[in-house]
């Protein structure tokens, strides 16, 4: 027994090794596990539900069709979000305008049946404020925040996805949070 965590059959990397052999069931597990994070990242980067769904589909399609390019030693999440990030960039290039972040219609949150109408309204207002603040950030900083907080990647993974150094990621995140703090403090 090696005792390495990487030997666990349900780790992303182990599942991706099965996907490399064409195992669609393993692919479905990976999709179920990560599609929300990819979708949230795409939606909050693009601000458009339709485009975010396209990015989500295209990303996972590329995970499957490009499965032989995946190196077993690579961290799956970093590889996945590298693809998603490129898809987001392509989508922005296609429409040739800056991302329209966080319009109320496109960012309809998951409904919580227990929440009162007032709570829902407050949540929506809060979401809009944070969304507008995010939209004001320079794209590189916004990207780092979304990858760290919305997608839940570690600094190392964000560095791999964005091709920056670890120090640059920390600096970008620090500045982005400071900017957001200032923006959210405004009445």
């Amino acid at each position: 027994m090696t005792g390495f965590a990487s030997d666990a059959p349900d780790r992303d990397e182990a599942l991706m090794a099965s996907v490399r052999e064409g195992d669609v069931h393993a692919f479905r597990i990976l999709y179920t596990r990560h599609h929300r994070a990819v979708f949230a990242f795409a939606l909050r980067s693009l601000g458009d539900r339709g485009e975010a769904e396209d990015v989500l589909q295209e990303t996972f399609l590329r995970v499957y069709t490009g499965r032989r390019q995946y190196r077993p030693l690579a961290v799956f999440r970093a590889w996945l979000f590298t693809i998603a990030r490129h898809q987001v960039i392509d989508q922005i290039r296609r429409r040739r305008v800056q991302p329209l972040l966080e319009t109320e219609d496109s960012l309809e949150p998951v409904a919580h049946p227990a929440a009162s109408p007032l709570q829902e309204l407050e949540a929506r207002e809060f979401s809009d404020r944070v969304g507008r603040a995010l939209a004001c950030l320079p794209s590189a900083r916004r990207e780092v925040v979304l990858l760290s907080r919305v997608a839940g990647l570690t600094h190392e993974e964000v560095a791999r996805v964005t091709g920056q150094s670890l120090a640059a990621v920390r600096v970008a995140l620090h500045r982005a949070l400071r900017d957001l703090q200032t923006l959210l403090a405004r009445p």
Binding site: R36, A40, Y64, G131, V145, R149, V150, H155, L180
Partner: protein, 218 residues
């Protein structure tokens, strides 16, 4: 050279991202520097605000559309790429090897005779020849192990049909030569039996050689 406050920034960002329950312990500098403690507190609030954003999700139609596109990609891969045909060639070669080994151990004429006895049909009736041919198509099922972890059901079926086609392309001339002492109708019946057996047993083998499914937390 970085001063103590700058050095602390790295540590408190890490404490923030990893959700450290006691940042003061993770970053001792916070206890002695009110400015950094204040900044950390502000950044933590912002971090928490970002975490409180409502969850967004997609519906089942997106997943269904994706799986449809994956199926299309699988069909294309199976039919139009080397990576689709190489396993088929491997499966076909394995099947041909086994079928020839079987023919070497048990000659065609012996199996035909056994089938005639079993079915109680006369020497010229084509039925026993069809059944005997199908027996030599049986090894194509062995190639199914190649597909046991592979692709979607449609991909496995296409792969098996490709393998059967290659199996027959290699084996039919050899079989036709080896059973040249049969009459032409019986020879044709034997070859048809071989073709049918290769396809039917190949597809049946798919059902038997299923790989264990990966069990994992969603």
């Amino acid at each position: 050279m970085m001063d103590a406050c700058e050095q602390a920034h790295e540590a408190f960002l890490d404490a923030l991202v990893t959700g450290h329950p006691e940042p003061g312990v993770a970053v001792p500098h916070l206890a002695v520097c009110p400015r950094c403690a204040n900044e950390f507190s502000g950044l933590r609030q912002t971090w928490q605000a970002l975490g409180a954003l409502p969850e967004v999700t997609t519906g089942d139609p997106v997943r269904a559309r994706l799986l449809k596109r994956i199926r299309r990609a699988v069909v294309w891969e199976s039919l139009c790429t080397w990576s689709g045909w190489v396993p088929a060639a491997l499966a076909a070669t394995t099947g041909v090897g086994l079928s020839l080994a079987l023919a070497l151990l048990v000659p065609y004429s012996l199996v035909v005779w056994l089938c005639q006895q079993l079915l109680q049909l006369s020497g010229t009736h084509v039925g026993p020849y069809v059944v005997a041919g199908a027996v030599y198509g049986l090894p194509s099922a062995a190639g199914a192990w190649v597909w046991r972890r592979q692709r979607t059901a449609i991909g496995r079926v296409i792969g098996t049909l490709e393998a059967s086609a290659l199996f027959l392309a290699i084996l039919v001339p050899v079989a036709a030569f080896q059973c040249r002492e049969f009459g032409s109708a019986q020879q044709a019946a034997f070859v048809w039996g071989l073709a049918g057996g290769a396809v039917v047993f190949g597809l049946a083998g798919l059902g038997l050689a299923r790989a264990p499914r990966v069990r994992a937390r969603p």
